[in-house]
Symmetry: C2
Subunit: 367 residues, 2 copies
Amino acid sequence: MTTLRELTSDDIEAIAIGAAILGTGGGGNPYIGKLRCQQELKKGNRVQIIGLDALDDDAFVVSVGGIGAPVIGIEKIEQGEECLRALRTLEEFYGRKADALIAAEIGGGNAMEPLLTGAQAGIPVVDGDGMGRAFPEMQMTTFSIYGKSSVPAAIADEKGNVVIYREVLNELWFERLARSTVIAMGGAAGSATAPMSGRYAKRAAVPDTYTQALGLGNAVLDANRRHVNPIDLICAREQGVRLMDAKITDLKRHLRGGFAVGEIQLQGVGAYAGETGTIALQNEFLTFSRNGTIEVTVPDLILVLDLDTGHAITTEILRFGQRVAVVGLPSHPLLRTPEALAVVGPAAFGLEGVQFTPLARAGDGNV
Amino acid sequence: MTTLRELTSDDIEAIAIGAAILGTGGGGNPYIGKLRCQQELKKGNRVQIIGLDALDDDAFVVSVGGIGAPVIGIEKIEQGEECLRALRTLEEFYGRKADALIAAEIGGGNAMEPLLTGAQAGIPVVDGDGMGRAFPEMQMTTFSIYGKSSVPAAIADEKGNVVIYREVLNELWFERLARSTVIAMGGAAGSATAPMSGRYAKRAAVPDTYTQALGLGNAVLDANRRHVNPIDLICAREQGVRLMDAKITDLKRHLRGGFAVGEIQLQGVGAYAGETGTIALQNEFLTFSRNGTIEVTVPDLILVLDLDTGHAITTEILRFGQRVAVVGLPSHPLLRTPEALAVVGPAAFGLEGVQFTPLARAGDGNV
């Protein structure tokens, strides 16, 4: 639990590694965001996180992040103040300055955007987020699931265009309208969404996820420094389940409706020799099967890590022959309620007939 | 010049006829808007127009109108309060109620929207507009040409979605972003744009165009009642130039980039027997040529009227064999300045090498 913590350049390095792991294959690359945050520190600005418990009930909290296809984010580099302009627009709309920012998703590049914008605006970022991982669509946040509309929301591009979503019929309409604007803007933009009270953030945010990303990143860095196996360290600190060590033997991956969808075939190695595995993906990893039987599904986290370094292997850099460790992490209870499963459970990803069977924490029985 | 005038159901009937004529082939059909305005009168609401001279310099004036392809407006009938919701959103944004509304284009269906919204909101509509006719794109208004940005602007659909354009790089970006949103909304929506002062409206609006539409419509109705030729009456009251009476002998019309583009071939009849004519079109009529030589171009108005009834024949109802009168009306001086010609002159419609030669009012020499 953080009250108010100043992040160092090393902390930001570790958070970027941890955020990539929590991206479960998606969420975009935190690399450029990390460099930008470190640059803010060099300018003398502060990157701060604040624990949910330390937040005033009446605090005005805004979610900021990049919106658009991650692949475009790599080629169309941000001007760097898109999210800040979106934030300023919402502040103007409410006639009130934000007291803190919050990430919609801790997984991948969008973990870095609030830190960057917070440094620019001089306000802290809540230690928590709306997914506890990455998901492909904007309505898949606990903010939205537990009743906070994403609007009023603002979207800003690098050219100076700023659009406000004042009212939407529902969250799917917000996703549709905002997506069409972002495409017209060139495919990537900054957003400020889901303005909420500190009280609501305490109720609906997945807590302590920056601390979690920081710990995960430090575990990887530490293991690599000490030449010990990072997978064991990661599983130990997260009560994660080591599902399989394997070699990627086949890979189907194509674009459908703007998403990378496909399947990875695995052949167990070491202690897992003789087993086969399959991972289905839609930007993020959706299910893990062993010998043809599904063992883990969304919203639980399926991590595909480099077997030697422990770094995340994201959907776009998967390739034949890679040696990986597949690790399962139980999702936060906020993602396992009936309301949440309707939005982020297997059926929400079109996996008809697949039941969500919660993965137990390692050591709690199960698996 | 109107100070404040209450419109009757007959006035609205006449304005719809006149607005269709000023649409120069485009602008959409005023029919549904007319019925809605007449319905407001039956409910006891008032439809009022106010002269530019009677407007306070500090009045808060907002332009309202439908946005989207006219052809969709026919099939996807408005819920009826789209523009009102867009207006209310801008009022909320400014923390100020509008004192009057103004039409972006008097030509076609968008002449009726401000009258409808004004009746709903209980405020008058300025006797003037931003085009003095119809043009296909949103940036082609005198408001925009003389320096008033279209934003902040709001767009509302029939489902309850409302989007605000807070800042745009330029008017073309507004057109692009708003267009993409309207397409996502289903192709048609209501807009509130170009919030301006009474002072600016007096400087930049094409004046007295509701009075003009009313007079044109009454001329048509009067001629039909008295069984006299409506074309002569129209030309007389507008100092219009009767360019040709003709039969449509060929018609090329196709969709390109969301616009109806094409060409009409004419064979002169009566006093014009032996002459040929050509009209190029892009939603609206762009040029009129006689025997291969261009005589009239945008921004001057080229009207294609039913030779017997004087009613406008719009681009979508043109057909082979129709007997028409082609009439030229000089455009307002505000459309003939170098700034205006850069946006609504021949070159702006891709007519390379075509010079704008102003049509003189009938009786002033020329033609």
